[in-house]
Symmetry: C2
Subunit: 426 residues, 2 copies
Amino acid sequence: MSKIYKNVAVWDARRSKAEFCDVEVEGTEFRTVAPAGSLNGENCFDGKRRTAMLPGFVNAHGHASMTLLRGLGEDLPLMEWLQNRIWPVEDRLNKVFVKAGAKQAMLEMLSTGTTCFADMYFFMDGVAEAVLETGMRCGLSRGMIDDKDGEKLRDNIKLAENFNGAGGGLVSVQLGPHAPYTMTFYMLRNVAEVAISKRLGVQLHWLETKDEWKNTSMSGTMTPEQCLENSGLTRVKQLVLSHCVWLDESRLGFYKKDNITLVNNPKSNLKLGSGVAPVAKYLKAGIKIALGTDGASSNNSLDMWEEMRFAALAQKGYFMDPVQLKAEEALKMATYAGAQALGFDKCGLIKEGWKADFMLVDLDSPQYMGWNEDNLAGYLVYSGSSKDVKTTVVNGKTLYECGEFTTLDKEKVIAEALSARSEMTK
Amino acid sequence: MSKIYKNVAVWDARRSKAEFCDVEVEGTEFRTVAPAGSLNGENCFDGKRRTAMLPGFVNAHGHASMTLLRGLGEDLPLMEWLQNRIWPVEDRLNKVFVKAGAKQAMLEMLSTGTTCFADMYFFMDGVAEAVLETGMRCGLSRGMIDDKDGEKLRDNIKLAENFNGAGGGLVSVQLGPHAPYTMTFYMLRNVAEVAISKRLGVQLHWLETKDEWKNTSMSGTMTPEQCLENSGLTRVKQLVLSHCVWLDESRLGFYKKDNITLVNNPKSNLKLGSGVAPVAKYLKAGIKIALGTDGASSNNSLDMWEEMRFAALAQKGYFMDPVQLKAEEALKMATYAGAQALGFDKCGLIKEGWKADFMLVDLDSPQYMGWNEDNLAGYLVYSGSSKDVKTTVVNGKTLYECGEFTTLDKEKVIAEALSARSEMTK
C-alpha cells in the first residue's frame, strides 16, 4: 500500500528552493511528487505546510562502532590519545562488540535524520548484520592496515561477496585501505586491481594531517596524486577520499573526476587539531564533495545537522568571507553527494522513481520563525537541529518516528553497547 | 516550600568533575548541596543518577530581539547584508516589536538551558518588561551609536534608573556604547564617567574585524588599549568586551584585570567571516573569558551548547592542537564567567547560598552512553545537546519543563514575533 505525505515543503536541490508538495511513496520509492493539493488517499500524513521533507542525510565517512570508544580521554595530544586510550581498547574488539557499537550508532543516526552511512572498521560482518536487521542503507569497507600477506584484502573481498547488494540493495561494499601511511604503494596497487576487476568502490583516508605524506613509504618518490594514478586507484568505480585537509592546491584539477568524491569532516579535523580543509575552493574547482562525521570518539556526535553547520561556518571563517560555502551547498554535500559517492543510484533527491530515503522536519518550533520557500535552506543549515526530526524513512520504511524506533530496541541496544564497552575497558 | 533534587550529577567547576548529590532549593537559592542519599522531603525530584544538574548558561553577549531578523539574507557579503537586509528593517523597530523579539528569544534560550543573558539593543524598556514578565536574569544595555548630543546616554541612564536591580535583582543594567568605530573617544569618555559615578558596568563590541581600529576616529593617535585606559573605561565596575578577535597579542597582559571580561562569540565570528579569536591564548594570559551567541541573525541560534562546542573545536583547529580549550574551560566560560561579567554575585555555580539558576539534563539518551563522574564535562561539551535539557530554573523558579514554558505562552509569543517581523519587512 502506498502512503501519501501532503503539504510538505520539499527541498528541491536543483532550484535551491523548497516547494509545497504532496508526495506518494510506494514500496521503496517515491512514486509521485506533485504540487500540494493534488493527491489524496487513505494512508495519509498531513504536514500542514509546517513540515519539511528532506532527503535523508548520507554520512559519507565514519566508523560507526567507535560509539563504544567515545569519551575515552578528551583534550589529549593525538598520539597519547591513540596509543594509551584508543588502540589498547580497540585491540579487544570482536564481532559481537562491533555489532553492538554499530546499533548504538544507528540509534543516533536515525534519530538525527541520517538514512545512509559509510563505514570503515573491523569485524565488518557484524556491522552488515546490524544494518540488515535495522534496515539502514550503507557502504561498508573492511579497514586494512599494513596488509603484508593480503589476508585483510581477502577478508574485504569476502565481505563484498557476502553482502554487496544485500537487503535488496541497501548494502554496498567498498574496499577499505586505511591510509597511505599505513599501506604501501604495492598494497594500494593490489587493492586497486581487485576493485577494478570486481567493480567495487574504495574508501580511503587521505591527507588528513599536515605531515601525513612525509610519513608514507612513497614520500620522496612520488606525489600523492601520482600514487593515486599509478596505483590504479583513480580507475576504480568510485573512489571516496576522506578528510583531504592538506591537498596541494596547485593540483586540485586532478581531483575533478566523475568517480572521485572528497569527504569533508570538519568537526573531527578541528577537534583533533588537523586543520580546516578549504572545501569552498575544492567546490569551485568542480570537485565532488560529500560530508561525514568520522567516528564518535573524535567528533563526538553523529549528527549531520551539526556537521553541515560546522562545514559552512568553518569555510566562512577560514576564508574570512561570509559568502563561502552557502547553505544549499552544505545541504547537497550532506545528502545527494554522499549517496552518489557510495554508488547508490537514484538516491539522495526527492524525485519520482528515486529511493524513498527521507526525513520529516517539524518547522513549527521557535527557531524556524520566519522561514519560507525561498529561505528554507538557510534556516535548516544555520538554525535547524536534529531535535526537529520527527520521522526518518529508509527505502520506503519508517525506521524512526517521534522518539521511537521501529526496528531497534533502544534500551536493549544501549545496554548491549554499555556491556561491550565495559568488557573492552576492563 | 523548598524542593529537593535527589541523585543528580552536579558539575563541580572547582574540581573539574561531577558528583552525585542531593540539592535543596529554597526560595531563590541553593540551601543545601549534600552527597546523594542525605536529603529527603515531600517535594522531591529523583534524578536517578542519570540526570545532570548544571549551572544555567549565561549568554554573555547578544541582541535578543534580532530573532525578528533571522534569515533575512544569508551567505551575503557583510556590507550588502547590513545595508540592504538588516538596517532598513531595524529602522522600523519600536518598543512593541523589540519586546516581541525578546520573548521569542527567551523561548529559545530557556528551552536550551540558558538562565541569564546580556543584551545590547534599542527600545530596551521593551526587553526589560519582557524579562520581568518571564523571570529570566539579564544584563541590559542601550546600544549607543554616534551619540553626539548625549541623548542616547541619557536614555541608557534612564534605563538604569528604572530597571537596575528590578525583579528582586534579576535585572542588571549596563551602559552600551556600541563600538569604537561608531563612537568617538569623547563619547566613550562620557560613558565611562557616568558608569564610574553611577557604579554601572559597560558592554562594548571590541576589535571584532581585522580593520576595525583603522576605521575609528582614534586610529593613528592611540592604541585600542590606550583608548580604554585614557577614556576611563578600565575603571568602570565591570567592562564586558565582546568578540575581541583581533587583539594585539603582545598586549594581552593589559586585559588581565578583575573588572574586565572578554566574550568569545565563535559562531558569529565564523559566520560573518571575522575570524577566530585565539581565546586559548587569552586564557593562558589569565584573562577572564565568557561566551555568547551574538544576535540570532548572525549565528543563527541562541543555543549555548553549540556555542561551547564551536568555542572548543575552533581553538583546537586554530592552534592545530587538540589540547587547547578543554571541555571544563568551555563549561566555565558558558556559566560562571558570564554571571560574574554581568555583575551577578553568588551566581553561576551550584553552591550553598548561591542563586538557584540551573538546568536538569537527561543523561539517559544514546549519545551519553559511557559517561561517568570523571568524564562528564567531555560528554556535555562534545556530545551533549540542547535536546537533553529537561528543566530550566531561574532564581529558584521553574520556567521551562519538558517542552512547556511556565511564564511564556509559546504559540502567542511566536505569533506576535511573526506579526512584528511581517510589519518590519513589509
